[in-house]
Symmetry: C2
Subunit: 440 residues, 2 copies
Amino acid sequence: MRLSHSFVPTLKETPSEAQIASHRLMLRAGLVRQTSAGIYAWLPVGFRVLKNIERIVREEQNAAGAQEILMPTIQPAELWRESGRYDGYGKEMLRIVDRHDRDMLYGPTNEEVVTDLFRQSVKSYRELPQILYHIQWKFRDEVRPRFGVMRGREFLMKDGYSFDLDYAGAVVSYRKMMLTYMRTFQRMGLKAIPMEAESGPIGGDLSHEFIILAPTGESQVFYDAAFEEIDYLSQAAGGFSHDNATDLERFFKEMTTHYAATDEKHDATKWAQVDAGRRREGRGIEVGHIFYFGTQYSKPMGATVAGPDGKPIIPEMGSYGIGVSRLVGAVIEASHDSAGIIWPDSLAPFKAAILNLRLGDAACDALCEALYAKLGSAALYDDREERAGAKFADADLMGHPWQIIVGPRGAAAGKVELKRRATGERLELSPEDALARIGA
Amino acid sequence: MRLSHSFVPTLKETPSEAQIASHRLMLRAGLVRQTSAGIYAWLPVGFRVLKNIERIVREEQNAAGAQEILMPTIQPAELWRESGRYDGYGKEMLRIVDRHDRDMLYGPTNEEVVTDLFRQSVKSYRELPQILYHIQWKFRDEVRPRFGVMRGREFLMKDGYSFDLDYAGAVVSYRKMMLTYMRTFQRMGLKAIPMEAESGPIGGDLSHEFIILAPTGESQVFYDAAFEEIDYLSQAAGGFSHDNATDLERFFKEMTTHYAATDEKHDATKWAQVDAGRRREGRGIEVGHIFYFGTQYSKPMGATVAGPDGKPIIPEMGSYGIGVSRLVGAVIEASHDSAGIIWPDSLAPFKAAILNLRLGDAACDALCEALYAKLGSAALYDDREERAGAKFADADLMGHPWQIIVGPRGAAAGKVELKRRATGERLELSPEDALARIGA
């Protein structure tokens, strides 16, 4: 992308309405703009990050055998009356009356719709287990939307639903999704810790939130130092197969042996049993939640399949959410400095920025064009008529993993400067070596 | 995908509510299910087609230099009051009141939001021209939704908006999008004819609908036989560059020389001038619309950029729509037979189906597994415990371009049968030759 003709409205000033780093940086780097309270438009650079997160989530879901569907945003109220949630849901539900006076709503979640699809379509025990998921916009009419996309009203979420014949099967699906989530967050460069969470009316221990550590997190969290140790999480995520129930059991044990809880579920007695030197406290941001809820929806909605003996079986269900748009903010909270965003390689909107420090200088222009031709859509070419200082500042602000800096003296000598955003390291290299170094 | 454990609810009976072929076939082949009147959930197979259409639209938009963004579904009424459209829009607009009693709406289109984003962000003439687009769900509260996804209430649309400094620039953007649209539809295997359309209050000749021919189309259309001639449209789309204004002018002339109009704009005098032997009449389905509207939104909404002399310039705008979800139905209307759908290769949910005619036969199972391992996500493996007849019927219904049929006699001899859905042609081949033939 050529920055001179791109829709990338970076800001020099810090917007006064933004209270936390990710919100400030997303506005300043031109990732999003608010269109109504808690509702955002994603501009080209922010859109690319959102799509990168979506892609990783999708690839990992598909690898686990989950099937992607797409349920609509607008749902009929009658399904929520069947499940018994319509009246109790409160003002966070955006209720709508259509032109024929039918009660509709903008889906805040999809248990009812997916259970309805299931009961219309799946008839035999032979077809189970299945996991269905979608990545779709949802709406919760927060009374006080804040923190940018971290607590917006319209937000993008991956929500998945498992259908199993019995509790044992549901446990396997649950563990499979836990492993899939660990891999998903790992690929985003995030250290997400599964923490025991409220399990609702069903009870039991099959409810976990995935929390990433950040000083601005909404929850106080308590965890064993094991989760901080290098490679603990990555080894756990790498060494198990999600097609093998024994592996899944070992993985689940591994993830739940060490203490980890948010303040909601914090247990002082258990905490006291953790070695004092290994107790860690901090703030955390929830980026995912997995939850077993049995027949809570399938039973009242009459979803059944015929068993081997012809008798109806009520499927056991679980739900699995990842906050896709929220993750954009959460990643920034976990990875930024005073100059701006520091994107993990897997999520960066562009692998590299090309900074032309002297537009109009023949050698600079030619070298930049050659680099841009080589990198294509992986590069943002800063070809604006701006001072070098403004280009440096915007590149740091936008957080590209690499900056290729082309000035007149270097260009004349056939050299560029390559800067790694995360470390600040700078090297003078030939253009070929710079491209090789960034893996292009 | 293994069909035995997939969410693909094919139907043997024709659903009574479906009046046209595409609606019937989409329900029967398990592509979609209705969740409310005119609102559909996309099941795994339908979702894949939708994503294929979206991908082609996106690739061609990006190739033309348009920038992808994502505007929210819920918009503030105040922007529509600024443009003057709020009160006049009528009951098709889904109006919503949020918990703070603010008037909101589910966007039926995005001129207001994109103009608002532009005026906040773009300050100088140097940054123009720009084309912004997004692919997002929209809502129109049709009084009588019908024809499945062809005239639904919640629908997926690509809408793009161009911003130019003057009329001449807007014409270039318009022609660029016309060329891009021709290429987009071509890649989908569609013959889309650009037809002069209503141009609204601005007048002029810069408004075209893209119409594909299908007997169930909603409009009567009149066109010169040139548009039916082999390669006319493909040559036109292939031979021009969208980075060259002269090329674009020649292309536009080529596309608008021959008569083509829907009944709305049909002109009997001009029609009489078409050689009688070259007059064609038929029914058509609108799948795209491009439209120049000047300063209709930028002016009342106060969107300006500073010109070279510092004086404000009101940008000239155009809008460019493609009905992404509608296209799934339109393609089926244009490409099916009595047995089912016939997918163009570029849109097919799976390149091939593997039909195991004798599940449990060691040679059949081994051969099918080997083919499936090779084809991966490009194949749908029919591993259900079903009669051969049911598998043939479902494969024809679902319209995979290729069927690889594995029966016990052939498997024992190391042979499969390869069927091409579009022609019915069948060949007995080794598995390797079959894979080579389908390009895997």
